[in-house]
């Protein structure tokens, strides 16, 4: 009697287990397929609507926006990488555990969870309204660097902290000063990991839109034969308005009536953005794999 009740319970538990396992497989594979379909759909749809003028640097193409995106991300990295790496070094090597460091960590977490539109508004206020400037690439780059600063800082800190103690002790034992140890031993050793963080930050920068709405502006006029950096139509002038690819998609959604090519332009921009993101995450993966191979041999 007792035995059969127990057997029933066991059988029930086994049945529930197998049902739940199947359910987990179902949900997990659904999302995997969904992602592949989504990414595939974006790329295929973008390519299907392709016409040759899309590659030109005119209002029918996205050449200018593509250039602006790359240039803006480059500018933002020039600002955020030195700052972020230095702040990461501070957290790993110079600061002492305590309330101050905890506060700094809370600041970084708050920064990283700030809505990008709020960062965009801050940028609009400080870099546009207070300076009296018009929309410009530099303001956009500064806003994006605020967004990527937390990622670069925490990656650098983690990278330095995860190095074996021997690196630092060996260098110190040879009589190197602290800064020499950091700059000649610790930083080179964690360069690949920092690079991974920077690549990820760049990938996010490409897609950023809300922070650029009121900083980099939603228009772009470039004269490709003008190389006078102070002129507002020179491609390399960082103080000209510069619409990026992602903002271009945002602008195209309302321009259906004005520009019959708007959907094709937006689809193609979306495809280009997704391909760029794929390429960058692949690059980050390869860099990360190199590290594990290298450190696998050394340590």
């Amino acid at each position: 009697m007792h035995n059969s009740a127990m057997k029933k319970r066991i059988a029930k538990a086994k049945a529930v287990d197998s049902v739940m396992t199947k359910l987990f497989y179902l949900i997990g594979s659904f999302f995997l397929v969904f992602l592949l379909v989504l990414a595939g759909y974006i790329i295929v749809k973008g390519i299907l609507g392709f016409y040759p003028e899309l590659l030109t640097f005119s209002s029918k193409g996205i050449g200018n926006q593509f250039f602006n995106t790359i240039y803006l991300v480059f500018l933002s990295l020039v600002i955020s990488v030195p700052l972020g790496v230095a702040a990461g070094i501070y957290m790993a090597e110079y600061s002492r555990d305590g309330k101050f460091l905890t506060f700094l960590r809370i600041c970084i977490e708050s920064l990283s969870s700030l809505p990008s539109i709020v960062v965009g508004l801050f940028g609009y206020l400080v870099f546009i309204l207070l300076t009296g400037a018009k929309w410009n690439l530099m303001a956009g780059a500064l806003a994006v660097s605020i967004l990527s600063l937390p990622l670069i800082t925490t990656t650098t800190e983690d990278a330095i902290r995860s190095l074996p103690k021997g690196f630092k002790e060996g260098s110190m034992a040879l009589g190197a000063t602290k800064w020499r140890t950091i700059s000649k031993v610790l930083l080179p050793a964690c360069l690949p990991r920092i690079a991974t963080g920077v690549i990820l930050a760049a990938g996010r920068g490409f897609g950023e839109a809300a922070a650029l709405l009121y900083t980099a502006g939603q228009s772009t006029i470039i004269n490709w034969s003008n190389w006078d950096v102070t002129s507002s139509t020179c491609p390399l002038n960082p103080f000209r308005p510069g619409e990026t690819l992602s903002l271009h998609i945002w602008a195209m959604r309302t321009e259906g009536s004005l520009n019959p090519n708007a959907p094709a332009i937006a689809n193609f921009s979306a495809a280009v953005l997704v391909i760029m993101v794929l390429a960058f995450s692949l690059l980050a993966r390869i860099t990360a794999r190199r590290i594990s191979k290298k450190s696998g041999g050394q340590i």
């Binding site: 538990a13 086994k14 529930v16 287990d17 739940m20 396992t21 359910l23 987990f24 497989y25 949900i27 997990g28 659904f30 992602l35 989504l38 990414a39 974006i42 700052l83 230095a86 702040a87 070094i89 501070y90 957290m91 090597e93 110079y94 700094l104 809370i106 600041c107 977490e109 708050s110 920064l111 969870s113 700030l114 809505p115 539109i117 709020v118 960062v119 609009y124 400080v126 309204l129 605020i146 000063t177 700059s183 990938g203 490409f206 897609g207 839109a209 809300a210 709405l213 009121y214 992602s246 998609i249 945002w250 959604r253 689809n267 979306a270 953005l273 997704v274 993101v277 794929l278 995450s281």
Partner: protein
């Protein structure tokens, strides 16, 4: 000879001095960069508070009116004031879309996290992790664009709502897809970090895998999973353009999940550029930005409270 000796001595002294100078120089720079992050965060908070409180201090509206009134009719000029600045519609729009998104996605995220850590850890590392990273990387505008061109027409065809497919439902689905990777990765990390002895002990008692998961692993990972859910919620609250593209931007409370409405971020994104700097509407929009800032800082504190409690439990 002697002079040469003195020379090398003084030069080595010089280089020691140079070294120390170098050391202090870099130390100062590094510390300055650390301090800069704190200053930047406080600076952002300071500017938002100064701008955001203008509605209450300069325009003499009450906090109560801003939070709970649905009368949004601010004047768009720097001289006039006295319109309504009730943001209740926008606030409700944000809360309803985010809550729905969370309800949609949490079970799926949790199931995916369990699958990639406990059931097929190999495929988890090789297949799911990279796939989810790509999910994170897809720009939010692209999600919005797909929502606009695929999801909105689809909802229109399926349910035939009066106002077209722009709806709370469309916004929450787009948000759900966007926060899926956040919740899944954080939950997966939490599940992975549950000590394997818990599992061994439970299996040793004869539990099935589902029993181990349901009774032991998931309760043990609960604080980490909650952190993931809060991070996802924070991301959903702050998302602007993707939501703005599909929510319909009508200034009314939604009658049901198929009606359009508006939210905080979409209102800021569409109206800030047209408003006169320092005017009533402009200041009210800044107050909405301040509210978003307060919400995101609040979420961070919530996470700290959760992880603090966890540490106490283990100590």
């Amino acid at each position: 000879m002697a002079s040469q000796k003195i020379n090398t001595l003084s030069s080595s002294k010089n280089s020691t001095f140079q070294k120390i100078k170098n050391e202090y120089f870099w130390r100062t720079i590094i510390i300055a960069c650390g301090l800069f992050i704190i200053l930047l965060t406080l600076g952002i908070g300071f500017f938002l508070v100064v701008k955001g409180t203008g509605t209450f201090i300069r325009m003499h509206h009450t906090v109560w009116e801003f939070l709970f009134s649905s009368d949004w009719s601010p004047f768009d000029s720097t001289t006039e004031s006295g319109g309504g600045v009730g943001a209740a519609i926008y606030i409700f729009g944000s809360i309803s879309t985010c809550t729905l998104a969370l309800l949609f996605v949490t079970p799926f995220s949790l199931a995916s996290a369990v699958l990639m850590t406990e059931i097929t850890p190999n495929a988890g590392v090789k297949l799911f992790q990279p796939a989810i990273e790509i999910f994170v990387g897809i720009p939010s505008v692209v999600y919005g664009w797909i929502g606009l061109t695929v999801l909105v027409p689809f909802i229109k065809q399926l349910f035939h709502p009066k106002m077209g497919g722009y709806s709370v439902l469309a916004a929450s689905i787009v948000l759900a897809v966007m926060i899926f990777p956040t919740i899944t990765t954080v939950s997966a990390d939490a599940i992975r970090s549950v000590s394997s002895e818990y599992r061994k002990a439970a299996y040793g008692m004869g539990s099935t895998r589902w029993q181990v998961l349901y009774k032991v692993v998931i309760p043990a990972a609960a604080p980490g999973i909650l952190t993931g859910v809060i991070l996802g919620l924070a991301r959903a609250f702050g998302e602007a353009l993707a939501v703005a593209m599909v929510i319909g931007k009508t200034r009314a409370f939604p009658a049901d999940i198929l009606s359009p409405t508006n939210n905080l971020t979409a209102a800021i994104a569409s109206d800030m550029g047209n408003s006169a700097n320092g005017g009533e509407q402009n200041l009210a929009l800044w107050t909405m930005a301040l509210l978003l800032f307060i919400i995101s800082v609040f979420f961070i504190f919530l996470i700290h409270i959760i992880s603090g409690k966890e540490k106490k439990k283990h100590a």
